[in-house]
Symmetry: C2
Subunit: 142 residues, 2 copies
């Protein structure tokens, strides 16, 4: 088994559904990180069978809304001096700003750079969001 020792300071994104680890790595643009980052895929998990894990040294800031959109089973551990100081579960966000593009090509958010696309959740199961500007339904895809 591959195992990774505890990080000293940073965050651990755990219980990522197997297959979603690389997507989250890319969405969070971790390839631009200056500090060490570890992506583990297909790790054994009692809960999920297999899971992916991401460990990021020297980072405490992640977009919980973005993670919630990708995978609502994710848990985040905040580590300081080698000890877990906080744990958070992500949730599917009720309101989303900026992470989704409205699929209506005539929506003002697609033509005006100053209009931030904003959406309201209408279906948790289907990850469907309604645009606050034009009411078009857009499904979030990772």
């Amino acid at each position: 088994m591959l195992e990774v020792k505890q990080i000293q300071n940073g965050i651990v994104i755990d219980h990522i559904k197997s297959g979603n680890g690389l997507k989250i790595f890319n969405k969070l643009q971790l390839y631009k990180a200056e500090s060490p980052v570890v992506l583990l895929i297909n790790v054994e998990s009692k809960l999920l069978g297999k899971k992916d894990i991401i460990k990021i040294e020297n980072t405490f800031d992640v977009d919980l809304n973005l993670l919630g959109l990708i995978d609502e089973n994710i848990s985040i551990n905040f580590i300081k001096d080698g000890r877990v100081i906080d744990k958070k579960k992500v949730i599917i966000p009720e309101r989303v700003t900026g992470l989704i593009t409205c699929k209506n090509p005539r929506c003002i958010t697609n033509s005006d750079d100053y209009m931030q696309p904003t959406f309201t959740l209408i279906s948790k199961e289907k990850l469907e969001y309604k645009c606050n500007f034009c009411d078009e339904i857009t499904k979030y895809k990772i």
Copy 2:
């Protein structure tokens, strides 16, 4: 520091130039792996300052030519029962089959599915290869 314990059976691709780890992960299509895989980026290295490492459990087969094309400083450790049983350095391949596409649009390898594009190295520094069919010079890009 992030550290990863030794794997039991598999390979460790070490001394990857920082930034190339994800490219190799993608080129080797490790996102399709069934067994555990670890990608470490920005790990401290005496030799390189920073380096990336990839550890793959239950795999002994990697395309050394492909790795040589991407990064000639890579070393590969083969692990069995937790011990290193073999080490290999990659080299920039003199002959390449299939990994490069000829940039000449009229080259037969771009129109005939049965013709395997084959190239001969003409410049190590620039990673330039000459097509064995049409003599066009193509530079390998990762």
